[in-house]
């Protein structure tokens, strides 16, 4: 596998991924953090926040892993 710096495709794809994933993850977090399930208990509301954060954190983590691959 070519290193990141010597492969234009890897670099461009990583840039596209970073530009789309990072701001969007924050936008999703910002817009969805306020949304809760009306019938949810306190514990379920806390879980709602966990369910929101996990996929976004994993998305950023994957981006990092791919950049280091």
């Amino acid at each position: 596998m070519e290193s990141l710096t010597s492969s234009p495709l890897r670099m461009i794809a990583l840039l596209v991924a970073a530009i789309t994933v990072i701001p969007t993850a924050f936008a999703i977090l910002h817009t969805m953090a306020r949304l809760t399930t009306p019938t949810a208990t306190r514990r379920e509301r806390l879980l709602d926040q966990v369910w929101l954060v996990i996929p976004l954190a994993v998305m950023i983590l994957m981006l990092t892993l791919v950049a280091r691959a």
């Binding site: 596998m1 070519e2 990141l4 492969s7 495709l9 890897r10 461009i12 794809a13 990583l14 596209v16 991924a17 970073a18 530009i19 789309t20 994933v21 969007t24 993850a25 936008a27 999703i28 817009t31 969805m32 949304l35 809760t36 399930t37 009306p38 019938t39 949810a40 379920e44 879980l47 709602d48 369910w51 929101l52 996990i54 996929p55 994993v58 998305m59 994957m62 981006l63 892993l65 791919v66 950049a67 691959a69």
Partner: protein, 303 residues
């Protein structure tokens, strides 16, 4: 007493028709239309893992095993969701709701398919592929259907993981392990699920409200959902180019991912701006085509 020939023929035809109807109902329990897209991702993952055309028998048995795993999950879902299904127009004709198949039989059928899938995948390829098939079933039934679907608006985001297991099954069947690329395939399906499913949920929002299922549009309205469809589609495009960023796919796939993703974003943007039912329908149908074409592009690029 003797039976005349026409009467016997009619009775025989009725019996065959009856058996045919029962067979069709059991096939319906597996949701074959949904599985066909899942199998496209399994098959593509096999081609990518092989970097060419995998063995024909391995393809056949993996497809059968994959069908059985997903079909088992769906059949059990007919059992767990029978109360919800009856309240929704999209699902109120299902065999369990209509009483043509008893709930216990649907459950037993689903469990049997799950066990059969593990055996087929385990014996024909390896036990990692079998474990991935079963993991998808368990996430779909245990995490999505029984837990999150009824309790949180994030149900289909986390539950979407269930639909992301088929590429792992295909990859594991060929490679015997799960590399970074396999997990990227998982991630692509995972992040595709929210915009795909919320577009559908916009179309049947009232059904979900009637069934008291906290889907995003029925809880927080259409505008909120339309914005989330757009945001998750943009994020999904970023995830879809990760194979190139990791050095695992080439320019042909990159171009395909950008074009297909660009069209998806175009529809999602129009859905957000116009907010029409027509655009929700277009976005939903395009999302199906998108996933199939994206995985085909990846397979062609790898081959």
């Amino acid at each position: 007493m003797t039976t005349d020939a026409p009467t016997a023929a009619r009775a025989s035809r009725a019996e065959v028709t009856g058996l045919g109807a029962i067979f069709r109902d059991y096939v319906k329990l597996t949701k074959p239309r949904v599985i066909s897209l899942l199998l496209v991702t399994t098959l593509a993952a096999m081609f990518i893992a092989e970097r060419g055309v995998p063995d024909g028998w391995l393809i056949l048995w993996t497809m059968i095993g994959g069908y059985l795993a997903a079909g088992g999950a769906h059949a059990i879902n007919h059992f767990t969701d029978r109360d919800i299904d009856g309240a929704m127009g999209r699902t109120d004709a299902r065999p369990v709701v209509q009483g043509r198949i008893t709930p216990v039989r649907a459950l037993a059928f689903g469990i049997a398919l799950g066990i059969a899938s593990a055996l087929v995948l385990g014996l024909s390829s390896n036990w990692l592929a079998a474990a991935m098939g079963l993991a998808g079933l368990i996430v779909y039934v245990g995490i999505y259907s029984l837990w999150l679907k009824r309790t949180t608006i994030h149900n289909i985001v986390i539950g979407g993981a269930a639909g992301a297991f088929p590429p792992l099954v295909g990859w594991a069947a060929v490679a015997g392990d799960l590399s970074l690329y396999a997990w990227i395939l998982f991630a692509i399906v995972f992040y595709w699920t929210p915009p795909h499913f919320w577009a559908l949920a916009l179309l049947i929002k009232d059904d979900y409200t009637r069934a008291d299922v906290p889907m995003l549009p029925s809880v927080h309205g259409e505008q909120v959902t339309q914005l989330q469809v757009l945001l998750w589609t943009v994020a999904m495009l970023g995830v879809s180019v990760l194979p190139c960023a990791a050095g695992l796919a080439g320019w042909p796939y990159f171009v395909a991912a950008m074009v297909l993703g660009g069209i998806f974003i175009h529809f999602a943007l129009r859905l957000w701006r116009e907010g029409t039912r027509r655009m929700a329908k277009v976005t939903f149908h395009y999302s199906l085509l998108y996933l199939a074409l994206l995985f085909v592009a990846m397979a062609v690029d790898a081959a």
